[in-house]
Amino acid sequence: MIAIGNLALYLALATSLYAVAASLHGALARRREFVASGEHAAYATWGLICISSIVMLHALLTNDFSIKYVAAYTSTTLPARFRVTALWGGMEGSLLFWALILTTFTSLALFQNRHRNRELMPYVTATAATVAAFFVSLLVFMTPPFALLSFPPAEGTDLNPLLQNYWMQIHPPALYLGYVSWTIPFGFAIGALATGRLDDLWIRTSRRWCLMAWFFLGLGNLLGARWAYEVLGWGGYWAWDPVENAAFMPWLTGTAYLHSVMIQERKDMLKVWNMTLIILTFALTIFGTFLTRSGVISSVHSFTQSGLGPYFLTFLAFALIVSFGLMALRLRELRPRHQLDSLLSRESAFLFNNLLLVGIAFATLWGTIFPVLSEWVRGVKITVGPPFFNRVNAPLAVALLLLMGVGPVIAWRRATFRNLVDNFLGPAALGLAAGGVGFACGMRSLSAILVVSFSAFVLYTVAAEFHSGARARVAMVGDSYGAALLGLIRKNQRRYGGYVIHVGVVFMFLGVTMSSVYRVEELHTVKKGERFTIGRYTLEYQDSANEEDPHMAQLIATLAVYEDGEQITTLRPEKRFYKRPEQPATEVDMRSTMRDDLYVVLGSLDNQGVATFQTYVNPLVWWLWFGGVVLVLGTGIAAFPSRTATLRERARETSAIQRQRA
């Protein structure tokens, strides 16, 4: 079995390299048989990586400790679900998993386009196969997953306890899906540059891939935040850790791309900018992988450090040189057909939105690599912490929130005074009122007041968009209001799905701001039967218990929680001691409501039964996770437009134009 897994990897390297060569030869020499052969090679690479992955999963599930990786990341006492998780728990396995997702997506994209976009596809194959060849070559030459031990141990070292968590089972796959999916739109962009098909064909073809990549990257970040919140036990969910930043940056440039691409489709502008954004987004996914695996920067999220850094940097440089080189050759053809007419227009709002998103990405990049740069330049590693990121990014993010309300309702090309009054008077009034109410309720933080005010502004504009759209449809089509509202969404799912996403983002903004600004944090040391108070909650430490199984020992404290004199729940925070590897861990317990989270960490528990509890009250943090759910819903609406509705609409327009011509 192990030999087959190894052989499959070697063959996958050969087939991916062949796919690059055959596709490029086929495209340049116009030899269709070579293009087809290259595509077959890409499918074969996928099959081979599947074989390798199955062999690895089998080894993990059957505790084959003769394999170094299995011995390092599993044990006989590790539950089966975490043995599957171990596939991405270490360097070799996670690279194999990465290659599996990449080749699967490549095959899917090739299959989807087997009868379409034939001119672009050889370059898409070549690009995706180049990326696959890079990752597989790391597996073959640098970090072989099937390396054997001379003396297999009777028991494995086990998976890091921090990774033995539900969120860790779904967070890395979501993030990897996001990282890897960007390869496909990047491949289409390279295809467009290589063939000179620089209209929006490549954009339309790769739109769903972009949306999927953006969605999974966002979801991966959110699940990672949830993991940090539940597992790391410091009361927060985002610490501007380098690995968090690494996944956040391509999400930001990807978001910028998803917005600016609309300007290209409609106005034939920003072609160079869009091309730059897609290249940067792909480059940032590779850079993120470099950060996670190179070990140059320490992180609570990085469990797979190695000496692979220089290889990633070389590949990154290669990708940037080829992409920007091709773009330089096509620069003349990428010239826009139109110019910006006015600063008060939707085009400008999109442009500012892009500048802010890229600004945040750049500030995040600067803060992330600053320790490395300072070490290179001055020989001293200077780390910039959360205060830097918060100070620089918070104002930009608040401005972005405001633009989320401005962009959808401002007129195209040039906003008139009447347009501004009609569309912004209501939202501005509600925004001011919301800010005023916040101030009257005791809010004194400027950022919190601005976020509340701008959130109300955005929610009003989104509601007004749905309402005015439905009313216009009632007038144009003659539907009832309800049918018009549904028809409106069906007719332009991309636009209205986008608005739903905006609502989700507003909820997330509120959750993040309020839980950061108004968090209460207290440390209490109490004996059994004693009570302490935090915010509106009173907690009574009632009991403690010891539990033990072959895998771990647990110390569990029981706390009764009271509000207004009535018991509302019981919390049981734990301290765990994993036996293999010997490592302590905390298991947070919390009571989560729409208003706030009561979050309790068991700090210590001595033999006399005296316990220390680190306790937090995080206001509105529930809205962060709920905003994520709304975001999923909005993406679902935007990503799967109703084909029949669009076709019907176009058929109606065609017949109208033909009638007019007759």
Binding site: R30, R31, R32, E33, S37, R114, R413, D422, S468, R650
Partner: protein, 126 residues
């Protein structure tokens, strides 16, 4: 046993990759729309979508009447041109495969089976 499986795997991969190189029906498989056809269909779709959106944006007050008139005329012209070109393409009969040229007389590019024009230089298929 492992040796046999390995040999079978290598052979299978070689066959999968090499198969298209020996296929003689690739040119006959009409899997590729001609470039011109694809371009005009795309142009038509974009223009129609833009007209629908312009109607809607005017109705919701995001496009002034003057801008709407200019935009609508522009996109109608584009849509009409695309419809005309597509009709012309539909009207011209496809050359029979057995007598049509396999390579462009101007630049030497190989034609796809459904191509009516050279995808590289635009010369009509002779």
């Amino acid at each position: 046993m492992t040796g046999l499986i390995a040999a079978a795997l290598i052979a299978l991969v070689a066959v999968i990759i090499a198969a298209p190189l020996w296929r003689t029906d690739l040119d006959q498989a009409a899997v590729e729309p001609s470039v011109s056809d694809e371009l005009w269909k795309h142009e038509k779709a974009v223009a129609l979508l833009a007209i629908t959106e312009a109607d809607f944006d005017r109705a919701t007050g995001k496009l002034s009447d003057d801008d709407y008139t200019v935009l609508r005329e522009d996109y109608e012209d584009r849509a009409l041109r695309a419809i005309d070109e597509l009709e012309k393409l539909d009207a011209s009969p496809a050359p029979p495969a057995e007598v049509s040229a396999r390579f462009c007389g101007n630049c030497g590019t190989r034609f796809g089976s459904a191509d009516r024009y050279c995808s590289s230089c635009g010369t009509p298929r002779g």
